[in-house]
Point group: C2
Chain length 206, copies 2
């Protein structure tokens, strides 16, 4: 149906439910949808598979990718680097697939630079109070860590203006439907769909 694929970038404050949204969106997309695999310098753990969970590389390999402008975005956490290599994404797009990227808010700018056709979606919580409740309910972080996340979230919300679309994750099902509508509409954009007009004009009687 589509000649080239679609690159869908999802960003938003930690705790706003991106992971759950993405797994439900991927369920709907079936064979058409792929979650981009990140590259990391951290050691492989237990059952993790190279190329599925992460691309596991050495710090030197990671640095080479960055220097050759082959990373859509990357960030450092502690001693380790994490990022999105552009190669596998372009490979999937060339096959007409829908590739979903789950990245940090700051990473969006570099994706826009390297992949100007990317559809960038900012996922926001319905309120900062609700975000706080969700972070507390996770039960995985100290009060200090949660307060830090809320401060970061406030700064990140100001970046929403740089995104193409804004989805508020209040009711999960609605947010999933929002993302699916954005994906469906994006495939119908004139620049993606003009080849179909040529088909209409040249279609031979079958």
């Amino acid at each position: 149906m589509r000649k080239e694929g679609l690159l869908i970038v999802l960003s938003g404050p930690s705790g706003c439910g991106k992971d759950t949204i993405i797994s439900q969106v991927l369920n709907h997309l079936g064979d058409d949808g792929f979650l981009s695999v990140s590259m990391t310098t951290r050691p492989r753990r237990g059952t993790e598979i190279d190329g599925v969970d992460y691309y596991f590389v050495t710090p030197e390999q990671f640095r080479e990718n960055v220097e050759n402008d082959l990373m859509l975005e990357y960030a450092q956490y502690g001693a380790n680097f994490y990022g999105t290599p552009v190669g596998p994404v372009k490979h999937l797009l060339a096959q007409g697939k829908i590739v979903i990227l789950n990245i940090e808010v700051q990473g969006g700018k570099n994706v826009r630079r390297l992949m100007p056709d990317a559809i960038e979606i900012f996922v926001a919580p319905p309120s900062l109070q609700e975000l706080e409740r969700r972070l507390i309910n996770r039960g995985t972080e100290s009060r200090d860590a949660i307060d830090r996340r809320l401060l970061i979230a406030q700064a990140e919300l100001r970046c929403a203006a740089d995104y193409d679309y804004i989805v508020i994750n209040d009711v999960l099902e609605d947010a999933v439907e929002d993302i699916l509508a954005i994906i469906r509409a994006s495939g119908l954009k004139q620049e993606h769909a003009m080849h179909r007009i040529s088909e209409v004009m040249n279609h031979a009687e079958s």
Copy 2:
């Protein structure tokens, strides 16, 4: 949910099913959706109601609207003029409504000029052969008239590149879902949804 409404323009060759698509889309939208009412200089017939079926005006009134740049688009058929007055459209948009405009392909350019935020959708048949079949099945026109419509359709298909979205009406239900996805996604565009981020940041605990 939305601060300003959305103006959705549908154009495409005669016989590609716009009227049916629009009536189904309006069913889905319920109280949020409105079909724009045209203005005409032709006399009112039988049960037609002014302001519902058409705005019935004199040729002088129509001309004044055109001269004052108050028509989104207009065209002459035989001795009569038909067009879309901008006033009622703006009134509905200010109420946050979704207004659907069903217009001739050539009218799109003027709508873009007066309402640059309009979402313009080109509806195309799956093939010229299928369009011919549909026009024949209507049974309302002579072979000559159908041939003329097919020639015009070919010229109109070339204008698809000027539209924001392209929807192929092969299976009606899919085309309706396409339009609904475009409408849903359009409401999530950053420029329409930024006020929601302000709400997220300023939302008081309730």
